[in-house]
Amino acid sequence: MLDVQSLSKTYDKKQILNNLSFSVKPGEVIGLVGENGAGKSTLLHILATLSKPTSGTVMLNDQPYQSGIKKIRKQIGFVSQDIALWEEFTVKENMIFFERLSWNRKNNEKLRQLCNDMKLSEWNETVNNLSGGMKRKLNIAVSLIHDPDLLLLDEPTAGIDLKSRKEIGSYLSNLAQKQGKMIIYTSHDMDEIMQLCDRIYCIGDDPFYHKLLESYGKNPILL
């Protein structure tokens, strides 16, 4: 379980996040929406241990973040907006490369199965030659090599075709339901968020998103 209490973040005297508190249970998919610059990525970076909060506490599976960064990072998978892959490597080589550096050992069969589960079958194709959707799938697959409990995704489906988007959404739903992973997800695609997420948190005070969520029949949870 992820537990966030009274989390604040200030950059150059500008308040980005103000006293956020929420929790995520295993198997839950949480959506984060809000205008650009509202603090979605900042929140994900804090949850991913890539940035320090100005105040507040974060606990993952009852372990506070301050207790030991390595232990916390072992339980986190982070998918950034960027394609964080070796472009000249094949899908197979990327998977093996990051598996070698990972805490968990997985054989080639399991790595290939992970890709197949994401409908990524181009095992021997170089990343350069993959479509945008395939790259995004591989980007997520690499983040799952060490079996994290918490998966943080920062606009993982930006700029890809509808089919790939559906396949990624479907995979993430399964991941939460069957393996009990906690997933926190940011996206500007409201349809995708509505279909995928159990709860939606609205960051920032832009009334546009509040009204948009209400039009989808959802009560926005304001952070």
Binding site: I69, L85, F98, L101, H146
Partner: protein, 374 residues
Amino acid sequence: MKQVIATRLMHWKKQWIGLVFWLLFPLIAALSVTMIINTLQEDAKVPVGVVLEEQTVAAEELVEKIEAASFIRMEVLSEQEALHDLEKHEIDSVFVIHEKFEQNIKQNNRTRLITGYQSDMSFAYVPVKEMIISHVQQETGRAKAAFAVKKLEKQYNGQEEWTFEEITAKSKDIQREENLLDTALTFKGTPEAVNDNPRLFPVWGLWGIFSLLSTLLVFDWVIKEKQSKAIQRLVFSRWSLKSYLLQNLVLYTVVMFTVDLFTAGSLYFIFGEWISPISLFVYRLLISTAAFLFACLFKKPFYYYTMSFVLTLVIGISSGALLPSAIATDWDWNWFDLINPLGPVLSENYLSFWPAAVVLSFVLWLFRKEQYHA
């Protein structure tokens, strides 16, 4: 470490042509440049023809003497060939060593031993003639001395019964051992200059410079990988970025040192020039670490490459490895040895400014806080 080696091998598999090229570049470049310089020096020598009318020890010695002159390329020819080549200006001058050369020297007969020919374009005739005259005088003097010894032996009823050959051989031994003709001239009050300036060993100097350049260029991986998005994943891996970079630095250093040892063997085999493995290791450690730290300062490979070439050129010129003449001035260059980064390879001077600066910088890098934190 095993896992990092495996990931590095995956990178090398993709870049093996470039990597092999840059690893072998110092050896190939040092060999090529040295061989080209040797060829040019050989071509720049003045061709002189020698005609041997007798094959005696004295005649052979004179030929060896001419051949040993650094400015002459000597060819033994028949008289007809030699005069033909002289006429065509293919050789500078011709010297005919006549029959009974040895016999005449022994008899202290210094006339008509050698005939010299020159053309209107000859310019090495006079120095070669002087060299031959000097040699003949030396040999006739030696013969005269041998006869004097024999005469004295007879006069005083000596028991040794030395032959002429034994006396001249002994004379040559003494000349060689005593080194009578080698004199060091110094200004009053200044110590005698030691003529073992290591900066004048061009093969290892050239290798040192080319090795520095290749190491800098090979270490562009630091910039490429540090700037890549993929490396951000290390945050969620077993290795920190620092640990990953450090292990790769060790791996590169080991591989490059192995190539250095191969280079040392090759240069010894080809030129007979040896370098101690300790010097080689210290130099490798120094340039690998320096290149690594230098690469850490850059974000764009283009600026790094530009600065690498500039740095190599500056060090190449200032160290005296490329242009020994640049340091052969009235300046007191002893202080330069202290800051010369090529010190370990050129003068086996391990305790200089550069190793100390690199070690200090490396320690600072090692204890610097990592970029990613909680």
